[in-house]
Structure formats: C-alpha cells, structure tokens
C-alpha cells in the first residue's frame, strides 16, 4: 500500500509539460509593469516623497470632498495599492471622485541611519499632512494608514487630532502582545541597542524574516499551486506583479527600526499608553474622530486580535471594525479584497463627508 495506487511516474509526463509551460509563462511575464495610475511628486523630505494622483478623466474630484492621504508601511513599497487597473485601491478612490495622495518613504541609505520614528511621524508624515492642508486650504484631511503605516497614522492622529477628520486603518496592529503573534515572540529578545549600532537593515533580511513565519507555504506551496487548474498568461502576470512587490522591500533606517521593535513589539507601548514621540505622550484616547479599521482574519503577520484590539483604546464613539476573510497579502492583492475593501472605504467615508 502506498499514497498512489500505482507508480507515480505515470504522472510525470503531464507534470513535466505543465512545469515547462508555467516556467515559460513566468519568464514571459517578468517584464510586467507595476503601478498603473498617473501621479506627480508634490513634496519631498529626505528620501520621502509625497505623490498626488491625477484625477481620472471619467471621475473629476468632488468639489467639497476632503483629500485622502495614504500612509503605507516603511517595510514595503506602496505601489501595491495601485498594482494594476483591476486591483488598485488608489484607482477606486479616484473613481469615487476623491483627491488621493500617497507617501513613498523611499530607500533610506547610510545618511538616514539615525532617522527615527519622531522624524518619520512628525517631519515626514506631518510635512505631508501640512502640505496637503495648505494646498487644499482645509483644516483636516482623511488619513488612510496601512499596516505599519497605520501605526504611524494612529500616532499622528493622536498627536494632531485636529488635522485628521476621519481615520481608516488597514491591517494595523495595536496590541503587539496577543498570544498568536509569532513575529512579536521572535523579536521580543532582540538587543535593539545592538540592532541600532549594526546599521540599516537590508530589505532582504526583513523579507526572509516574514517568509520564515510560514516557510513551506510561502516559498514552496504558492508556486506549486500554479501547476493546478488552468493558469493562463494573465493569471501568471498577476502572480508575478504580486511577487515583485513582495520581494521589493526597501532597507530600514537603523534607529527607526530599532525603536519600532522595542517600543511596539517588545514593550507594547501603544496599547499600554506609554509611547512618547518627540517628548509627547501618544494617547489613543485622544483619537475621537470616526475610525474604520479593516483587518484580515487569516493574517499571519498582524493577527486579527492585534488589530481588533484598537477599539478598546480609542476615544472615538464612531468606530467600525471589520474582519475580511483573507490573509495579510490578500488584503492588498486578492480579487475579493480588490472589490470589498475599496467599496467599504468609499461608502464609509461618503457617510462622513
């Protein structure tokens, strides 16, 4: 008795053919482009660039709509939110007549080794917010924080509540000490002083860390799955775009990363109310504006409990939390999320304009 009734070799000719075809498609797809909406740089600070997306011809910006600023994570590139026309949160927001801005943190080099979280939150994110408010002559904008960018957005909103009218967070952790947080367990014993002194951390190191959370699924299974069913050229191109994004991670400024690990992952300061940025206490209770918090129910990087905990700490009476049935990456690129997430955000913001 064995797993197959007869010799598995009978399967090999078909499998060989599929492998050859998939390999050819993957190679053909290597030239795919990422990012699909037109944008222009409107402000810069260090390596950070603030982009404004140009309105779509078919959907001019609504006159009284507040601008939306997207604050992405430092550890990944933000173009995943505008990966391709049918999977672009940015495009959907533009299609709803919103004026959309996005922060690209760029590639920190050795000159940025000492850039810290205060720099990122107050000078870079804060500079973006002030620039947008000036150009729109408005008092407040809508802030959309993604993953680690959501954490930065929470800090900024708590410190400058008058500048943010509505806050939307996507896959954003607040309680870093929930029992299912493997990443948090692993980094709890890191010597952050040493980390700081050892210099900027290459993106590849962080990538390897994320892959090692579920190594078999993330480095083997997802490729083998390409062999099943009918994987046409378009599906392969979608896959390659996503892969390109996953493995295109910027280096991390040493001090900011060490602070993030220590203050959030090790000491859980955001949830405990002991976080201080630039000498000021970050009190999530100061966030009284409406908050929409979207998180993935199958997230292996930001467990749903870590994000859903947000409600307990906010001062807002208008909190909407919503778990989406997908994983961390699926929140940005899955077909389901590509439809559901923009629709929820647009509708929620529309009710609060």
């Amino acid at each position: 008795m064995r797993p197959f009734a007869t010799d598995a070799e009978a399967l090999f000719p078909e499998l060989t053919l599929r492998i050859a075809n998939t390999l050819a498609r993957l190679r053909e797809a290597q030239g795919v482009t990422v990012g699909c909406s037109a944008k222009r740089a409107v402000w810069r600070c260090g390596k950070t660039t603030l982009y404004q997306y140009l309105p779509l011809a078919e959907a001019p910006p609504r006159v009284r709509a507040r601008p939306v600023l997207i604050c992405f994570a430092l550890v990944n590139r933000p173009y995943v939110l505008d990966l391709q026309p049918d999977r672009s949160l940015v495009r959907r927001l533009l299609g709803a007549g919103l004026s959309v801005y996005l922060i690209d943190w760029g590639d920190p080099d050795d000159a940025d080794r000492c850039v810290d979280l205060e720099d990122y939150i107050e000078r870079h994110l804060g500079g973006c917010v002030r620039n947008i408010l000036d150009s729109h002559a408005g008092a407040a904008l809508d802030l959309l924080g993604v993953c680690q960018g959501g954490v930065l957005s929470l800090c900024y909103t708590a410190l400058h509540p008058k500048q943010v009218a509505n806050l939307v967070t996507l896959t954003t952790p607040v309680d870093f000490h929930t029992p299912d947080n493997l990443l948090s367990r692993w980094v709890r014993g890191l010597d952050t002083e040493l980390l700081m002194r050892s210099g900027n951390v290459p993106g590849e190191v962080l990538n390897a860390l994320f892959l090692s959370l579920m190594p078999f699924r993330l480095t083997q299974h997802k490729y083998v799955r390409l062999l099943a069913g009918n994987c046409d050229q378009r599906a392969v191109e979608d896959f390659v775009r996503m892969e390109r994004w996953i493995f295109d991670s910027p280096p991390q400024a040493a001090v900011a990363l060490a602070q993030f690990v220590r203050w959030f992952y090790q000491e859980n300061r955001l949830a405990r109310g002991t976080l201080r940025i630039g000498g000021r206490r970050v009190d999530l209770g100061e966030i009284r504006q409406p908050v929409l918090n979207l998180y993935a129910l199958g997230d292996h990087i930001v467990p749903p409990d870590a994000s859903a905990a947000m409600q307990r700490y906010l001062g807002s009476a208008d909190y909407t939390g919503c778990g989406i049935d997908t994983g961390h990456i699926g929140m940005y690129v899955s077909r389901k999320a590509a439809h559901e997430i923009p629709a929820r955000i647009i509708s929620w913001l529309g009710q609060r304009q």
Binding site: M1, R2, P3, F4, A5, T6, A8, A10, L11, F12, L15, T22, L23, L26, R27, Q30, R113, C114, D119, R123, A139, L182, R185, W186, V187, R188, G189, L190, L194, L195, R197, S198, G199, E204, V205, N207, A208, L211, S212, M214, P215, F216, T219, Q220, H221, Y223, V224, L227, A228, F239, V240, F247, R288, Q289, P290, V291, G315, S316, A317, D318
Partner: protein, 263 residues
C-alpha cells in the same frame, strides 16, 4: 548560500523551478512501495523516513538563507578575506585582518557562536521534519491509494503542506526557539558591529570622518531642525487658530458620554 529569496533581483521563475523540483521529489516518495504492509489500513511508516529526510534537508538549506544568516553572510565574506594570508597587493585589509589580535579573537568567537547556534537550530529542524512526516502518515488514511493523477497529487501535496506548517508552527512558537532566534539575530548583529568597528579603525587612520562622527553631526542637525520648526510653527499655528475655531469631531466619545442619562 543564495536562493531565489535572498538574491538581490528576485526571480519568480527560479523560485518556481525550485519548488517544482521539490514537488517532483515528493511525488517520487509517494510512489515508493512501503516496506511492510500491515492490515487493510496499510503501513506507510517506511515513507516517513524519506519524507522527513527531504524536509529536513530543505529546512537546513532554507535556514542558511534565513533572516539572521542573511545578515551574517553580508558580514562574513569580509571576515573570510581578512583571515586569509595577506597578499602583498590586493584588497584593503578590511574586516578582522584590519583589527588588532584581541579584536580578531572577538570576531572569531562570534563566528564560532553563530555556528554553534546554527547547530542548535538543526536539532529543531530534525524535530519538525520527523513530526511532520508522522503527522502526514497518520492523516493519509483514505486519501491514499488513488490513481496518480494531478488532482490526487495536489490533494496529497496540500495535506503534506498542512502537516509541515503545523509541525513547524508547533516548534517555532515555543519559548526556547524564540530565544534561539533572538540569540542568532543578536550574534549576527554583534558580528556586523565588530566589522564596522574594524572599518572605523581604518577610516580613522586615513583621517576620514567616522560613523560616530557623522551620527553626531546628524544629531546636531536634528536639534537645529527642531529649533527652526519651533520658531516657524508657533506663529503659523497661532495664525491658524485665529482663522478657524476648532470643531469637535463627530465621533467624540466624551460628547456621547455627556448625552447618557445618569442612573
């Protein structure tokens, strides 16, 4: 070791080829006849050995490309060159070669510690691999004995992946594994710090500014920036306050609380 996941330019075709090769190996194992057939349920225990062996080998290979070793690897080539017999002409003696004897000893100690930790990690890989194989054999049950079609192969593969991930998760969530991971990272970081320290010695000898000096300049710049911001932001904020009175946001809990009737 370089894998599709650690090379600078990521190549999905290489990653796919790597995964497909493993898949082939696995299918070959699935096709192997069992050594001893016991009863109607079958005995696939002979499959456990090769499965565990393959998986362990893969884990070890992946481990050498893991997060901490990737960082250490960046440091070690310099060290390796430094320890080699110094040629009359050649690259600058960066790394351990540039350091006094005592410093070189410290570097060697860290490299040795890293190797020791890698050994400890291997013990975990062994445990994960054999548990995954046992789990797979136990769950195989009715899924076994089908025709060797792609559908059946994928079903068996899904089962194997689930067993592998579950077994991995059971180990890596333990405190001792987390401590080991942290120690690996700290030792790798210490190695990088040592390397930089050696480079600083050399830089100083050439009269160039050291990293510490550049960092001190950055701190000064940051202070100046803060002072400038205070000087420019204060009048701006004052003007803004005068222009628009702040309204309380719609979702304010404090206002909501005030509406509540007292008990």
């Amino acid at each position: 070791m370089e894998t599709p996941f650690t090379s600078g330019a990521f190549r999905p075709d290489a990653a796919f080829a790597n995964a497909a090769e493993r898949f082939f190996e696995l299918l070959k194992s699935f096709g192997m006849p069992s050594a001893g057939v016991a009863g109607a349920g079958g005995d696939w225990s002979s499959l456990a050995g090769p499965l565990a062996g393959q998986f362990e080998q893969w884990l070890k290979t992946s481990q050498s490309a893991g997060p901490w070793f990737a960082a250490a690897d960046a440091a070690s080539p310099g060290f390796a060159r430094g320890f080699a017999a110094a040629p009359s002409f050649g690259p600058l003696p960066l790394g351990a070669g540039a350091a006094p004897q005592q410093d070189a000893q410290r570097t060697w100690d860290l490299v040795a510690r890293l190797a020791q930790l890698q050994g400890q990690l291997s013990a975990h890989w062994s445990e994960i691999a054999s548990r995954a194989a046992r789990r797979f054999i136990t769950r195989l049950g009715t899924a076994a004995g089908g025709a060797p079609t792609l559908d059946n192969a994928m079903k068996l593969y899904e089962l194997w992946v689930n067993c592998a991930e579950e077994s991995y998760a059971a180990t890596v969530r333990k405190d001792d594994f987390s401590h080991l991971q942290a120690e690996l990272a700290n030792t790798s970081a210490a190695l990088l710090v040592e390397q930089r320290r050696h480079a600083e010695t050399l830089v100083r000898a050439f009269g160039l500014p050291t990293r510490n000096e550049v960092d001190a300049l950055y701190a000064q710049l940051k202070d100046l920036r803060r002072q400038l911001a205070e000087l420019t932001d204060a009048p701006r904020a004052k003007a803004a306050r005068a222009k628009r009175p702040a309204a309380r946001p719609a979702g304010d809990k404090r206002r909501a609380r005030r509406r509540k009737p007292r008990a």
